[in-house]
Amino acid sequence: MLSLTELLKKSKNTIENGGRQFARDEKVKCPACGKEEYRNTIKENNMVCPFCEHHYKISARTRIRQVFDKDSFHELFDNIESADPLEFKGYKRRIEKARISSGEKEGVVCGTASLNKVKCAVFVMEPGFMMGSMGSALGEKVCRLFEYACENHLPVIGFTASGGARMQEGILSLMQMAKVSGAVKKHSNAGGLYICVLTNPTTGGVTASFAMLGDIIIAEPNAVVGFAGRRVIESTMKKSLPDDFQKSEFVLEHGFIDKIVDRRELSMTLGRILNLHREVI
Protein backbone atom coordinates (compact mmCIF):
# COMPACT_ATOMS: atom_id res chain seq x y z
CA MET A 1 0.00 0.00 0.00
CA LEU A 2 1.21 3.46 -0.80
CA SER A 3 1.89 5.70 2.13
CA LEU A 4 0.42 9.17 2.07
CA THR A 5 3.77 10.70 1.19
CA GLU A 6 4.28 8.21 -1.63
CA LEU A 7 0.84 9.03 -2.95
CA LEU A 8 1.50 12.75 -2.86
CA LYS A 9 4.82 12.32 -4.63
CA LYS A 10 3.26 10.08 -7.23
CA SER A 11 0.38 12.39 -8.00
CA LYS A 12 2.72 15.32 -8.44
CA ASN A 13 4.84 13.45 -10.92
CA THR A 14 1.81 12.19 -12.81
CA ILE A 15 0.76 15.75 -13.38
CA GLU A 16 4.26 16.62 -14.47
CA ASN A 17 4.55 13.72 -16.85
CA GLY A 18 1.28 14.47 -18.48
CA GLY A 19 2.24 18.06 -19.03
CA ARG A 20 0.73 20.34 -16.45
CA GLN A 21 -2.81 21.12 -17.49
CA PHE A 22 -5.00 23.05 -15.16
CA ALA A 23 -8.52 21.71 -15.17
CA ARG A 24 -9.85 24.96 -13.83
CA ASP A 25 -8.00 27.73 -15.52
CA GLU A 26 -7.65 30.64 -13.17
CA LYS A 27 -5.94 33.97 -13.22
CA VAL A 28 -2.65 34.43 -11.42
CA LYS A 29 -1.06 37.67 -10.40
CA CYS A 30 2.47 38.31 -11.65
CA PRO A 31 4.78 38.79 -8.66
CA ALA A 32 6.78 41.36 -10.63
CA CYS A 33 4.24 43.65 -12.32
CA GLY A 34 1.08 42.65 -10.52
CA LYS A 35 -0.97 42.16 -13.69
CA GLU A 36 -3.26 39.14 -13.86
CA GLU A 37 -3.30 36.52 -16.55
CA TYR A 38 -4.72 33.01 -17.03
CA ARG A 39 -2.36 30.26 -15.95
CA ASN A 40 -2.60 28.38 -19.23
CA THR A 41 -1.77 31.54 -21.17
CA ILE A 42 1.36 32.00 -19.08
CA LYS A 43 2.16 28.35 -19.55
CA GLU A 44 1.89 28.69 -23.33
CA ASN A 45 4.31 31.59 -23.00
CA ASN A 46 6.90 29.25 -21.39
CA MET A 47 6.03 30.56 -17.95
CA VAL A 48 7.02 34.09 -18.82
CA CYS A 49 4.71 36.96 -17.90
CA PRO A 50 3.30 38.34 -21.19
CA PHE A 51 3.27 41.88 -19.79
CA CYS A 52 6.60 42.39 -18.04
CA GLU A 53 8.55 39.29 -19.16
CA HIS A 54 9.03 38.15 -15.59
CA HIS A 55 10.40 34.61 -15.68
CA TYR A 56 8.40 32.47 -13.28
CA LYS A 57 10.19 29.89 -11.19
CA ILE A 58 9.69 26.55 -12.93
CA SER A 59 10.33 22.96 -11.93
CA ALA A 60 13.15 20.89 -13.35
CA ARG A 61 10.80 18.73 -15.38
CA THR A 62 8.95 21.70 -16.83
CA ARG A 63 12.35 23.01 -17.88
CA ILE A 64 13.25 19.77 -19.58
CA ARG A 65 9.95 19.79 -21.45
CA GLN A 66 10.46 23.36 -22.57
CA VAL A 67 13.97 22.95 -23.86
CA PHE A 68 14.50 19.44 -25.17
CA ASP A 69 12.93 17.32 -27.92
CA LYS A 70 9.59 15.80 -26.97
CA ASP A 71 9.87 12.55 -25.00
CA SER A 72 13.63 12.40 -25.49
CA PHE A 73 14.49 12.66 -21.78
CA HIS A 74 15.85 9.54 -20.18
CA GLU A 75 16.51 9.88 -16.47
CA LEU A 76 19.75 8.71 -14.84
CA PHE A 77 20.97 8.26 -11.27
CA ASP A 78 17.55 8.82 -9.72
CA ASN A 79 18.38 6.06 -7.26
CA ILE A 80 20.76 8.41 -5.43
CA GLU A 81 19.18 10.19 -2.51
CA SER A 82 20.26 12.25 0.45
CA ALA A 83 21.24 10.57 3.68
CA ASP A 84 21.67 12.32 7.00
CA PRO A 85 25.38 11.83 7.70
CA LEU A 86 25.62 14.45 10.46
CA GLU A 87 22.29 13.45 12.05
CA PHE A 88 21.48 17.11 11.82
CA LYS A 89 18.46 18.21 13.80
CA GLY A 90 15.37 18.41 11.60
CA TYR A 91 17.17 17.50 8.37
CA LYS A 92 15.29 14.27 7.67
CA ARG A 93 11.98 16.03 8.03
CA ARG A 94 13.09 18.83 5.75
CA ILE A 95 14.07 16.35 3.07
CA GLU A 96 10.74 14.59 3.36
CA LYS A 97 8.89 17.89 3.07
CA ALA A 98 10.95 18.89 0.07
CA ARG A 99 10.16 15.57 -1.59
CA ILE A 100 6.47 16.11 -1.17
CA SER A 101 6.41 19.74 -2.22
CA SER A 102 8.64 19.27 -5.25
CA GLY A 103 7.70 15.74 -6.27
CA GLU A 104 11.42 15.08 -6.73
CA LYS A 105 13.69 12.83 -4.74
CA GLU A 106 16.67 15.18 -4.81
CA GLY A 107 17.55 18.75 -5.75
CA VAL A 108 18.73 17.89 -9.23
CA VAL A 109 17.31 15.86 -12.10
CA CYS A 110 19.90 14.20 -14.34
CA GLY A 111 19.71 12.26 -17.55
CA THR A 112 20.12 12.37 -21.29
CA ALA A 113 17.93 14.25 -23.73
CA SER A 114 18.22 15.44 -27.26
CA LEU A 115 17.96 18.93 -28.64
CA ASN A 116 17.31 19.08 -32.38
CA LYS A 117 18.24 15.39 -32.30
CA VAL A 118 21.67 16.06 -30.76
CA LYS A 119 22.04 13.87 -27.71
CA CYS A 120 23.19 15.65 -24.56
CA ALA A 121 23.82 14.85 -20.94
CA VAL A 122 21.54 17.07 -18.93
CA PHE A 123 21.26 18.21 -15.33
CA VAL A 124 18.55 20.52 -14.11
CA MET A 125 18.50 21.76 -10.54
CA GLU A 126 15.13 21.81 -8.83
CA PRO A 127 14.51 25.12 -7.05
CA GLY A 128 11.57 23.58 -5.21
CA PHE A 129 13.78 21.08 -3.42
CA MET A 130 15.39 22.88 -0.49
CA MET A 131 16.26 25.77 -2.81
CA GLY A 132 18.40 23.48 -4.94
CA SER A 133 20.96 23.36 -2.16
CA MET A 134 23.91 21.08 -2.77
CA GLY A 135 24.54 18.11 -0.53
CA SER A 136 26.36 14.83 -1.09
CA ALA A 137 23.62 13.24 -3.17
CA LEU A 138 23.27 16.22 -5.46
CA GLY A 139 27.04 16.46 -5.87
CA GLU A 140 27.27 12.77 -6.61
CA LYS A 141 24.53 12.92 -9.25
CA VAL A 142 26.08 15.87 -11.09
CA CYS A 143 29.51 14.27 -10.79
CA ARG A 144 28.28 11.00 -12.26
CA LEU A 145 26.58 12.88 -15.06
CA PHE A 146 29.84 14.53 -16.10
CA GLU A 147 31.62 11.18 -15.90
CA TYR A 148 28.86 9.60 -17.99
CA ALA A 149 29.14 12.42 -20.52
CA CYS A 150 32.89 11.95 -20.62
CA GLU A 151 32.64 8.21 -21.28
CA ASN A 152 29.96 8.63 -23.91
CA HIS A 153 31.41 11.76 -25.54
CA LEU A 154 28.33 13.83 -24.88
CA PRO A 155 28.04 17.58 -24.41
CA VAL A 156 26.60 18.64 -21.08
CA ILE A 157 23.80 21.17 -20.75
CA GLY A 158 23.15 22.17 -17.16
CA PHE A 159 20.63 24.46 -15.51
CA THR A 160 21.57 25.83 -12.13
CA ALA A 161 19.22 27.10 -9.43
CA SER A 162 20.60 27.03 -5.96
CA GLY A 163 20.76 28.80 -2.66
CA GLY A 164 24.23 27.30 -2.18
CA ALA A 165 25.64 24.46 -0.19
CA ARG A 166 23.35 22.40 2.04
CA MET A 167 24.51 23.28 5.51
CA GLN A 168 22.82 20.29 7.09
CA GLU A 169 25.55 18.17 5.53
CA GLY A 170 28.33 20.40 6.85
CA ILE A 171 31.78 19.90 5.41
CA LEU A 172 30.55 17.13 3.11
CA SER A 173 28.45 19.60 1.17
CA LEU A 174 31.45 21.92 0.81
CA MET A 175 33.50 19.07 -0.61
CA GLN A 176 30.94 18.54 -3.37
CA MET A 177 32.12 21.79 -4.90
CA ALA A 178 35.60 20.35 -5.33
CA LYS A 179 34.33 16.98 -6.46
CA VAL A 180 32.03 18.33 -9.17
CA SER A 181 34.62 20.87 -10.37
CA GLY A 182 37.05 17.99 -10.80
CA ALA A 183 34.55 16.06 -12.89
CA VAL A 184 33.86 19.14 -15.03
CA LYS A 185 37.62 19.48 -15.58
CA LYS A 186 37.92 15.86 -16.70
CA HIS A 187 35.07 16.30 -19.15
CA SER A 188 36.68 19.47 -20.43
CA ASN A 189 40.12 17.88 -20.79
CA ALA A 190 38.51 15.19 -22.93
CA GLY A 191 37.24 17.93 -25.24
CA GLY A 192 33.65 17.91 -23.99
CA LEU A 193 31.40 20.92 -24.40
CA TYR A 194 29.62 22.21 -21.31
CA ILE A 195 26.95 24.86 -21.56
CA CYS A 196 25.62 26.18 -18.29
CA VAL A 197 22.39 28.13 -17.95
CA LEU A 198 22.08 30.14 -14.75
CA THR A 199 18.54 30.57 -13.51
CA ASN A 200 17.14 32.44 -10.56
CA PRO A 201 18.78 32.14 -8.07
CA THR A 202 22.30 30.80 -8.59
CA THR A 203 24.34 31.59 -5.51
CA GLY A 204 26.93 30.42 -3.00
CA GLY A 205 28.74 27.16 -3.49
CA VAL A 206 27.13 26.40 -6.82
CA THR A 207 28.27 29.75 -8.25
CA ALA A 208 31.72 29.13 -6.79
CA SER A 209 31.96 25.81 -8.60
CA PHE A 210 30.21 24.29 -11.61
CA ALA A 211 27.94 27.25 -12.45
CA MET A 212 30.98 29.35 -13.36
CA LEU A 213 32.82 26.59 -15.19
CA GLY A 214 30.83 26.32 -18.41
CA ASP A 215 32.59 26.78 -21.74
CA ILE A 216 29.60 28.93 -22.48
CA ILE A 217 27.59 30.48 -19.67
CA ILE A 218 24.09 31.78 -20.31
CA ALA A 219 21.74 33.37 -17.80
CA GLU A 220 18.03 34.00 -17.78
CA PRO A 221 17.07 37.69 -17.52
CA ASN A 222 16.91 39.25 -14.08
CA ALA A 223 18.19 36.13 -12.30
CA VAL A 224 20.17 36.56 -9.09
CA VAL A 225 23.70 35.32 -9.71
CA GLY A 226 26.32 35.81 -7.01
CA PHE A 227 28.52 34.29 -4.36
CA ALA A 228 27.82 35.99 -1.03
CA GLY A 229 24.22 36.77 -0.17
CA ARG A 230 23.02 40.30 -0.81
CA ARG A 231 21.79 40.83 2.76
CA VAL A 232 25.02 39.50 4.21
CA ILE A 233 27.00 41.98 2.13
CA GLU A 234 24.66 44.81 3.07
CA SER A 235 25.02 44.11 6.75
CA THR A 236 28.80 43.68 6.49
CA MET A 237 29.30 46.86 4.47
CA LYS A 238 26.57 48.74 6.31
CA LYS A 239 25.06 50.17 3.15
CA SER A 240 22.25 49.24 0.84
CA LEU A 241 23.08 47.93 -2.59
CA PRO A 242 21.54 48.97 -5.93
CA ASP A 243 18.57 46.99 -7.26
CA ASP A 244 20.50 45.46 -10.11
CA PHE A 245 23.26 44.15 -7.83
CA GLN A 246 23.99 40.47 -8.57
CA LYS A 247 21.39 40.34 -11.33
CA SER A 248 22.28 38.64 -14.63
CA GLU A 249 22.62 42.02 -16.31
CA PHE A 250 25.14 43.10 -13.63
CA VAL A 251 27.09 39.87 -14.01
CA LEU A 252 27.11 40.23 -17.80
CA GLU A 253 28.32 43.80 -17.48
CA HIS A 254 31.23 42.66 -15.32
CA GLY A 255 32.22 40.03 -17.82
CA PHE A 256 31.37 36.80 -16.04
CA ILE A 257 28.74 35.37 -18.35
CA ASP A 258 28.50 35.13 -22.12
CA LYS A 259 24.89 35.98 -22.72
CA ILE A 260 21.45 36.66 -21.33
CA VAL A 261 18.76 34.71 -23.13
CA ASP A 262 14.99 35.01 -22.75
CA ARG A 263 13.46 31.69 -21.79
CA ARG A 264 11.32 31.67 -24.92
CA GLU A 265 14.46 31.69 -27.06
CA LEU A 266 16.53 29.39 -24.91
CA SER A 267 15.90 26.14 -26.76
CA MET A 268 16.68 27.80 -30.09
CA THR A 269 19.89 29.40 -28.78
CA LEU A 270 21.12 26.18 -27.20
CA GLY A 271 20.34 24.32 -30.42
CA ARG A 272 22.33 26.82 -32.43
CA ILE A 273 25.34 26.56 -30.11
CA LEU A 274 25.23 22.77 -30.27
CA ASN A 275 25.03 22.91 -34.04
CA LEU A 276 28.05 25.20 -34.21
CA HIS A 277 29.98 22.51 -32.36
CA ARG A 278 28.78 19.73 -34.65
CA GLU A 279 32.29 18.90 -35.83
CA VAL A 280 33.54 18.25 -32.32
CA ILE A 281 30.62 16.51 -30.63
Binding site: I80, L86, A137, E169, I171, K185, G226, T236
Partner: protein, 271 residues
Amino acid sequence: MEAYEIVKLARDKKRPTAKAYTKELLTNIVELHGDRAFGDDKAVVGGIGELNGMPVTFIAVEKGGDLKERVYRSFGSPKPEGYRKALRLMKQAEKFKRPILCIVDTAGAYCGEDAEERGQGQAIAQNLYEMMDLKVPSISIIIGEGGSGGALGLSVSSKVYVLENAVYSVISPEACAGILWRDAKKADEAAESLCMTSEYMMKFHVADGVFKEDFSDFKGMCAEIKETLYNDFVQMKKEAPEEIIERRYEKFRNIGVFAEKKASSEKGDID
Protein backbone atom coordinates in the same frame (compact mmCIF):
# COMPACT_ATOMS: atom_id res chain seq x y z
CA MET B 1 35.90 19.82 24.62
CA GLU B 2 32.70 21.37 23.30
CA ALA B 3 32.72 22.11 19.58
CA TYR B 4 32.14 25.82 20.09
CA GLU B 5 35.10 26.00 22.47
CA ILE B 6 37.24 24.61 19.69
CA VAL B 7 35.81 27.20 17.29
CA LYS B 8 36.90 29.89 19.73
CA LEU B 9 40.38 28.37 19.96
CA ALA B 10 40.62 28.25 16.19
CA ARG B 11 39.79 31.95 16.05
CA ASP B 12 41.91 32.98 19.01
CA LYS B 13 43.83 36.15 18.22
CA LYS B 14 46.84 34.85 20.13
CA ARG B 15 47.05 31.82 17.87
CA PRO B 16 50.06 31.89 15.52
CA THR B 17 49.07 33.11 12.07
CA ALA B 18 50.32 31.86 8.71
CA LYS B 19 53.51 33.88 8.64
CA ALA B 20 54.73 32.23 11.85
CA TYR B 21 54.45 28.88 10.07
CA THR B 22 56.11 29.97 6.83
CA LYS B 23 58.97 31.39 8.91
CA GLU B 24 59.46 28.11 10.76
CA LEU B 25 58.87 25.76 7.85
CA LEU B 26 60.69 27.54 5.05
CA THR B 27 64.05 29.16 4.40
CA ASN B 28 65.34 31.43 1.63
CA ILE B 29 61.87 32.87 1.07
CA VAL B 30 61.20 35.11 -1.90
CA GLU B 31 57.76 36.66 -1.71
CA LEU B 32 55.94 37.21 -5.00
CA HIS B 33 53.04 39.58 -5.52
CA GLY B 34 50.02 40.24 -7.66
CA ASP B 35 47.53 38.45 -9.88
CA ARG B 36 48.75 40.13 -13.09
CA ALA B 37 45.22 41.29 -13.77
CA PHE B 38 43.84 43.56 -11.10
CA GLY B 39 45.97 43.89 -7.98
CA ASP B 40 47.81 42.38 -5.08
CA ASP B 41 45.62 40.95 -2.36
CA LYS B 42 47.23 41.43 1.03
CA ALA B 43 45.26 38.58 2.58
CA VAL B 44 47.13 36.09 0.43
CA VAL B 45 50.88 35.89 0.81
CA GLY B 46 52.75 33.77 -1.69
CA GLY B 47 56.14 33.01 -3.09
CA ILE B 48 58.94 30.48 -3.23
CA GLY B 49 61.00 29.05 -0.42
CA GLU B 50 62.88 25.96 0.64
CA LEU B 51 61.50 23.19 2.78
CA ASN B 52 64.44 21.16 4.07
CA GLY B 53 66.34 22.32 1.02
CA MET B 54 63.53 21.47 -1.40
CA PRO B 55 62.23 24.46 -3.38
CA VAL B 56 58.47 24.77 -2.97
CA THR B 57 55.84 27.34 -3.84
CA PHE B 58 53.92 28.52 -0.81
CA ILE B 59 50.60 30.29 -0.55
CA ALA B 60 49.36 31.45 2.82
CA VAL B 61 46.26 33.23 4.00
CA GLU B 62 47.45 35.77 6.55
CA LYS B 63 45.03 37.17 9.11
CA GLY B 64 47.55 39.64 10.53
CA GLY B 65 48.85 40.24 14.04
CA ASP B 66 47.84 43.59 15.54
CA LEU B 67 44.67 45.43 14.57
CA LYS B 68 46.46 47.61 12.05
CA GLU B 69 47.81 44.60 10.21
CA ARG B 70 44.52 42.75 10.44
CA VAL B 71 42.81 45.62 8.67
CA TYR B 72 45.61 45.69 6.08
CA ARG B 73 45.10 41.94 5.49
CA SER B 74 41.28 42.24 5.32
CA PHE B 75 41.25 39.98 8.40
CA GLY B 76 42.45 37.13 6.22
CA SER B 77 39.53 37.14 3.83
CA PRO B 78 40.83 36.88 0.27
CA LYS B 79 39.30 38.84 -2.58
CA PRO B 80 39.04 37.46 -6.12
CA GLU B 81 42.50 38.81 -6.93
CA GLY B 82 43.82 36.81 -3.97
CA TYR B 83 42.55 33.56 -5.45
CA ARG B 84 43.87 34.56 -8.85
CA LYS B 85 47.26 35.42 -7.41
CA ALA B 86 47.32 32.01 -5.73
CA LEU B 87 46.40 30.29 -8.97
CA ARG B 88 49.05 32.19 -10.88
CA LEU B 89 51.70 31.03 -8.41
CA MET B 90 50.41 27.47 -8.53
CA LYS B 91 50.61 27.38 -12.32
CA GLN B 92 54.11 28.79 -12.02
CA ALA B 93 54.98 26.00 -9.58
CA GLU B 94 53.61 23.47 -12.04
CA LYS B 95 55.79 24.86 -14.83
CA PHE B 96 58.92 24.57 -12.73
CA LYS B 97 57.87 21.25 -11.16
CA ARG B 98 57.81 22.60 -7.62
CA PRO B 99 55.48 21.15 -4.99
CA ILE B 100 52.88 23.51 -3.55
CA LEU B 101 52.18 24.24 0.08
CA CYS B 102 49.03 26.14 1.06
CA ILE B 103 48.57 27.41 4.60
CA VAL B 104 44.93 28.19 5.15
CA ASP B 105 43.37 30.29 7.88
CA THR B 106 40.31 32.28 6.91
CA ALA B 107 36.84 32.98 8.19
CA GLY B 108 35.79 32.95 4.55
CA ALA B 109 36.25 34.69 1.23
CA TYR B 110 35.94 38.47 1.42
CA CYS B 111 32.32 39.49 1.52
CA GLY B 112 31.74 42.80 -0.26
CA GLU B 113 30.35 44.63 -3.22
CA ASP B 114 33.72 44.91 -4.97
CA ALA B 115 34.48 41.21 -4.52
CA GLU B 116 31.18 40.34 -6.21
CA GLU B 117 31.84 42.78 -9.05
CA ARG B 118 35.16 41.12 -9.71
CA GLY B 119 33.70 37.63 -9.62
CA GLN B 120 34.39 36.06 -6.25
CA GLY B 121 32.43 32.97 -7.25
CA GLN B 122 34.22 32.63 -10.56
CA ALA B 123 37.64 33.06 -8.94
CA ILE B 124 37.02 30.29 -6.40
CA ALA B 125 35.47 28.02 -9.03
CA GLN B 126 38.50 28.47 -11.25
CA ASN B 127 40.82 27.50 -8.40
CA LEU B 128 38.92 24.31 -7.60
CA TYR B 129 38.96 23.42 -11.29
CA GLU B 130 42.65 24.10 -11.87
CA MET B 131 43.97 22.85 -8.53
CA MET B 132 42.35 19.50 -9.17
CA ASP B 133 44.43 19.19 -12.33
CA LEU B 134 47.87 20.32 -11.15
CA LYS B 135 50.68 18.05 -12.28
CA VAL B 136 52.72 18.68 -9.13
CA PRO B 137 52.02 17.47 -5.59
CA SER B 138 50.15 19.90 -3.36
CA ILE B 139 49.45 20.00 0.35
CA SER B 140 47.07 22.27 2.26
CA ILE B 141 47.21 22.76 6.02
CA ILE B 142 44.32 24.35 7.83
CA ILE B 143 45.94 26.03 10.82
CA GLY B 144 42.93 27.83 12.31
CA GLU B 145 39.71 28.59 10.52
CA GLY B 146 38.73 26.79 7.34
CA GLY B 147 35.84 29.00 6.35
CA SER B 148 33.73 27.55 3.55
CA GLY B 149 34.44 28.25 -0.14
CA GLY B 150 37.03 30.79 0.87
CA ALA B 151 39.14 28.04 2.43
CA LEU B 152 38.29 25.39 -0.16
CA GLY B 153 39.59 27.70 -2.90
CA LEU B 154 43.08 26.96 -1.58
CA SER B 155 42.52 23.44 -0.31
CA VAL B 156 41.92 21.17 -3.28
CA SER B 157 45.27 19.51 -2.70
CA SER B 158 46.82 16.06 -2.91
CA LYS B 159 46.86 16.00 0.86
CA VAL B 160 44.94 18.05 3.39
CA TYR B 161 46.07 18.36 6.99
CA VAL B 162 44.33 20.09 9.84
CA LEU B 163 45.64 21.28 13.17
CA GLU B 164 44.17 19.65 16.25
CA ASN B 165 42.00 22.64 17.12
CA ALA B 166 41.38 23.93 13.63
CA VAL B 167 37.84 23.95 12.24
CA TYR B 168 36.64 23.45 8.71
CA SER B 169 33.06 24.15 7.78
CA VAL B 170 30.62 25.03 5.05
CA ILE B 171 29.22 27.89 7.12
CA SER B 172 30.05 29.65 10.38
CA PRO B 173 28.08 28.35 13.35
CA GLU B 174 26.69 31.85 13.94
CA ALA B 175 25.35 32.18 10.39
CA CYS B 176 24.02 28.63 10.46
CA ALA B 177 22.10 29.26 13.69
CA GLY B 178 20.81 32.54 12.28
CA ILE B 179 19.46 30.92 9.13
CA LEU B 180 18.09 27.71 10.56
CA TRP B 181 16.86 28.79 13.96
CA ARG B 182 16.80 32.57 13.49
CA ASP B 183 18.98 32.90 16.54
CA ALA B 184 22.70 33.54 16.21
CA LYS B 185 23.05 32.87 19.92
CA LYS B 186 22.51 29.19 19.28
CA ALA B 187 25.95 29.11 17.65
CA ASP B 188 27.21 26.57 20.17
CA GLU B 189 24.49 24.16 19.18
CA ALA B 190 25.18 24.81 15.49
CA ALA B 191 28.91 24.23 16.00
CA GLU B 192 28.10 20.84 17.46
CA SER B 193 25.69 19.96 14.64
CA LEU B 194 28.01 21.05 11.85
CA CYS B 195 30.70 18.51 12.81
CA MET B 196 33.47 20.94 12.01
CA THR B 197 36.33 19.76 14.24
CA SER B 198 39.46 17.82 13.25
CA GLU B 199 37.98 14.60 14.56
CA TYR B 200 35.20 14.79 11.97
CA MET B 201 37.59 15.82 9.22
CA MET B 202 39.25 12.45 9.70
CA LYS B 203 35.97 10.59 10.02
CA PHE B 204 34.68 11.98 6.71
CA HIS B 205 38.06 11.58 4.95
CA VAL B 206 38.32 15.31 4.37
CA ALA B 207 41.69 15.42 6.13
CA ASP B 208 44.59 13.02 5.69
CA GLY B 209 46.05 13.77 9.08
CA VAL B 210 45.90 15.91 12.19
CA PHE B 211 48.86 17.82 13.60
CA LYS B 212 49.13 18.11 17.35
CA GLU B 213 49.21 21.63 18.74
CA ASP B 214 51.81 22.82 21.18
CA PHE B 215 52.23 26.56 20.96
CA SER B 216 54.52 26.59 23.99
CA ASP B 217 57.02 24.70 21.85
CA PHE B 218 56.15 26.15 18.47
CA LYS B 219 59.55 25.32 17.00
CA GLY B 220 59.25 21.69 17.98
CA MET B 221 55.69 21.49 16.72
CA CYS B 222 56.69 22.95 13.36
CA ALA B 223 59.67 20.62 13.11
CA GLU B 224 57.28 17.68 13.17
CA ILE B 225 55.01 19.27 10.60
CA LYS B 226 58.02 20.00 8.45
CA GLU B 227 59.17 16.43 8.53
CA THR B 228 55.77 15.12 7.50
CA LEU B 229 55.47 17.63 4.68
CA TYR B 230 58.96 16.89 3.44
CA ASN B 231 58.44 13.14 3.43
CA ASP B 232 55.09 13.54 1.66
CA PHE B 233 56.59 15.72 -1.03
CA VAL B 234 59.52 13.35 -1.55
CA GLN B 235 57.08 10.45 -1.87
CA MET B 236 54.70 12.22 -4.21
CA LYS B 237 57.42 13.67 -6.40
CA LYS B 238 58.21 10.10 -7.45
CA GLU B 239 54.77 9.75 -9.00
CA ALA B 240 54.03 10.49 -12.64
CA PRO B 241 51.96 13.64 -13.25
CA GLU B 242 48.95 11.56 -14.34
CA GLU B 243 49.15 9.59 -11.11
CA ILE B 244 49.28 12.76 -9.04
CA ILE B 245 46.19 14.12 -10.79
CA GLU B 246 44.30 10.85 -10.59
CA ARG B 247 45.05 10.33 -6.91
CA ARG B 248 43.93 13.84 -6.06
CA TYR B 249 40.75 13.43 -8.07
CA GLU B 250 39.94 10.11 -6.41
CA LYS B 251 40.48 11.59 -2.97
CA PHE B 252 37.80 14.22 -3.49
CA ARG B 253 35.64 12.04 -5.72
CA ASN B 254 35.00 9.67 -2.85
CA ILE B 255 33.91 12.27 -0.31
CA GLY B 256 30.21 12.32 0.43
CA VAL B 257 27.58 10.24 2.16
CA PHE B 258 24.35 9.43 0.39
CA ALA B 259 21.86 6.64 -0.07
CA GLU B 260 21.97 4.56 -3.20
CA LYS B 261 18.79 2.61 -3.64
CA LYS B 262 20.27 -0.58 -5.00
CA ALA B 263 21.44 -3.32 -2.68
CA SER B 264 24.12 -4.52 -5.10
CA SER B 265 26.17 -1.33 -5.38
CA GLU B 266 26.32 0.29 -2.01
CA LYS B 267 28.73 3.21 -2.10
CA GLY B 268 29.67 6.27 -0.14
CA ASP B 269 29.18 4.83 3.32
CA ILE B 270 31.50 6.20 5.90
CA ASP B 271 32.31 3.10 7.89
